[in-house]
């Protein structure tokens, strides 16, 4: 759990990829982990809660849709967070 419980809360499922491993609860565990947030929290709030500096998490997908930091998270959302990545 990322934050202590208070007020109305939501829980989102977070996956941190590649070089963002160090921000996971257990850096070696790639599996998604739950994170509790205040209802109305945004993607930016989530990243701040996880201690990920601005610009390090370039790509955030919420339920398969790429979102910017102002996007509001819903309860049960699946959030995939990536550093800048390209290739192909």
């Amino acid at each position: 759990m990322c934050t202590p419980a208070s007020e109305a809360q939501i829980t989102v499922e977070v996956t941190l990829r590649s070089i963002l491993a160090k921000y996971r609860p257990d850096p070696k565990d790639r599996k998604p982990f739950p994170c509790r947030l205040t209802a109305g929290s945004t993607v930016g709030d989530l990243l701040a809660t996880l201690g990920i500096p601005e610009g390090v998490a370039r790509l955030v997908f919420v339920d398969h849709v790429r979102c910017d930091p102002s996007a509001v998270l819903g309860d049960g959302a699946k959030v995939d967070v990536f550093p800048p990545i390209a290739g192909g």
């Binding site: 398969h64 790429r66 990536f82 990545i85 290739g87 192909g88």
Partner: protein, 578 residues
């Protein structure tokens, strides 16, 4: 600048010639497409004597410019029936640059059924009979060539698929370790080489200096600027070197655009097992090399070496497209099996994208179940042996689909789509539809803006803006493909304006031109696309060929439940500004 070797297979001669005056400013794709467009009858059969195989390094070949070792190969494609340029890393382009070669043109057809070998060194070029190479895979071929000519030569070769003139056949180029792991994969160019009776080309540039630049000081300064930008950019300086191209697997899956089980879904439940992170962990645990340049002078190093479970070299680390094609697209979540298929493709001389797509179509057609890795490997061995089934599979996804009664065939102009579903990334769908090359992600990589947030953002699920995006990218890509620079340089160029200026400065300093960025884009980008479009028009292609297969418009793709809905008028507008 540079000379041209004409290899006349009918006369069995290899003669040095000057590059025609109007083509001297060109290199790479601009030169292959201009030569093919100017010298090959568009209506000819791709395997006939009238077709020509053109090999051209980029304008910066042999220099110290970072990431400038791509080799373009062009011809009329046996897979698409249109013009083709396919480029690859490896050691050949830099060797050709040091040998002062702007191009090698193989034309005609020999009268005798003997494999031939072209050798080019400082003394000139010669064509030799090489019966000992007949029927060999690329690994055995280059082993013999290295024993005969030394470890330092660059080798270009075809495997059994090319000798059988199969439409999915690739042309292999040796990497910096001498393995035939770099391939001009797309469009069946290996079959054209096979039709010329040309089994291999050996390039010996050992001890030769780099080509001199018109303004060496300005060149060195521009090279330093570009190298600095590449190192500082988070993609070319950090994630590509660390995780390779397969870092994309989780990203594209997260975007719901990861084609799964023959393009029937947009996410794969087994993605974690075949992701770039798992690939890196596996390579490190087995003491492989996680960062390997695909050509000398590459500063990104997104490739790797992949050992087997005993720690012995198995293949290069399979690239994103290869992992997807044989993995998610076939329902296979086993990296070791994928690496074995990569090795088989490289050895037989097959395009990994086309073969993965073909295996998935074969699975859909009931030849074997999705997820059957050992069965897929057995099918590749059918191709190696040249059985009737193997020859069908080696002819690509479209032919295989027809033979097995499959209606979901993910091809454009006969060429299989790569690892991005156009229903969830519509900009890349526009590129697939309208590129003169057939379905080709590298021709206009709209994934950068649709998914990755590089060079701006265009909503991947909406049709708006996709045509203009693809048009601009296709023009810029044709230009980059003519410089010899790796396309991944573009990730940096798209974000850092001075990196783009450094590319133009490099060319001007090396070649003595005074191109503005617009002149560079016009001469190498737009003009190249015009040549290619005109060739295809004369070969019989029209607007209806610039479309995706019907199922893209009728079968919604989970998880977005979207279809490809970019209007036909938008597709027809893509090349209107050329």
């Amino acid at each position: 600048m540079g000379t041209l070797i004409r290899v006349r297979m009918g006369a069995l001669s290899a003669l040095t010639d000057e590059v025609p005056g109007h083509l001297r400013a060109l290199g790479g794709r601009a030169l292959t497409s201009a030569l093919v467009g100017g010298e090959v009858p568009p209506s000819c059969h791709p395997l006939s004597a009238e077709n020509k195989l053109v090999l051209a390094p980029g304008l910066l070949a042999g220099t110290a410019a970072p990431c400038s070792g791509r080799l373009s190969i062009g011809a009329k494609s046996p897979l698409t029936g249109g013009i083709k340029e396919s480029n690859s890393g490896g050691t050949a382009a830099q060797a050709m640059g040091r040998l002062g070669l702007a191009a090698i043109v193989a034309e005609g057809r020999p009268t005798r059924d003997v494999p031939y070998l072209l050798v080019v060194d400082r003394a000139g070029s010669r064509l030799l009979e090489a019966p000992e190479l007949r029927g060999l895979g690329n690994y055995d071929t280059v082993d013999l060539l290295h024993k005969r000519f030394g470890d330092k030569v660059a080798c270009i070769s075809i495997g059994m698929a090319g000798e059988m003139r199969l439409a999915a056949a690739s042309i292999a180029i040796t990497d910096v370790d001498g393995h035939p792991t770099r391939h001009c994969g797309r469009g069946g160019l290996g079959a054209v080489m096979g039709s010329k009776g040309l089994k291999a080309i050996v390039l010996d540039a050992d001890g030769l200096p780099r080509p001199s630049s018109a303004d060496a000081e300005a060149f060195a300064a521009a090279a330093k600027r570009l190298a600095k930008h590449l190192a500082a950019h988070p993609v070319t300086g950090q994630t590509l070197p660390m995780y390779g191209t397969n870092a994309l697997a989780n990203v594209i899956n997260a975007a719901g655009a990861y084609p799964t089980r023959n393009f029937s879904a947009g996410t794969f439940e087994g993605v974690e097992a075949i992701s770039g992170e798992t690939e890196r962990d596996t390579i490190l645990a087995r003491k492989g090399n996680p960062r390997h340049p695909c050509h000398p002078g590459c500063t990104i190093g997104c490739s790797s070496t992949y050992p087997d479970k005993d720690g012995n070299f198995l293949s290069k680390g399979p690239e994103y497209e290869t992992v997807w094609a044989h993995g998610a697209n076939c329902g296979i979540a086993d990296l070791d099996a994928i690496a074995r298929m990569d090795r088989a493709d490289d050895d037989i001389g097959l395009d990994t994208i086309e073969m993965g797509a073909t295996l998935a179509v074969a699975m859909e057609g009931g030849l074997l179940p999705f997820g059957d890795a050992e069965g897929a490997l057995r099918l590749l061995e059918e191709v190696r042996r040249g059985t009737p089934l193997g020859r069908i599979l080696g002819s690509g996804a479209a032919i295989t689909g027809k033979c097995f009664g499959v209606s979901r065939i993910p091809c454009v102009k006969g060429q299989a789509m790569p690892a991005y579903d156009p229903r969830a990334a519509k900009g890349i769908g526009v590129t697939y539809a309208t590129s003169p090359m057939g379905a080709d992600h590298t021709a206009g990589y709209a994934i950068a803006q649709n998914v990755l947030g590089v060079g701006g953002t265009v909503n991947p699920l909406q049709p708006i803006g996709q045509a203009a995006l693809s048009a601009a990218l296709q023009q810029a890509t044709a230009a980059i493909d003519s410089t010899g620079l790796c396309l991944f340089v573009a990730f940096c160029v798209l974000d850092v304006p001075d990196a783009g200026q450094a590319v133009v400065d490099l060319i001007n300093a090396h070649r003595g031109t005074d191109w503005s960025p617009n002149a560079y884009l016009e001469t190498l980008g737009k003009a190249t696309l015009r040549h290619e479009r005109e060739f295809n028009r004369l070969a019989g292609f029209g607007a209806l060929d610039d479309r995706l297969p019907d199922f893209m418009e009728t079968e919604p793709l989970a998880p977005h439940n979207s279809v490809f809905d970019v209007p036909d008028e938008d597709l027809d507008s893509v090349h209107a500004g050329l």
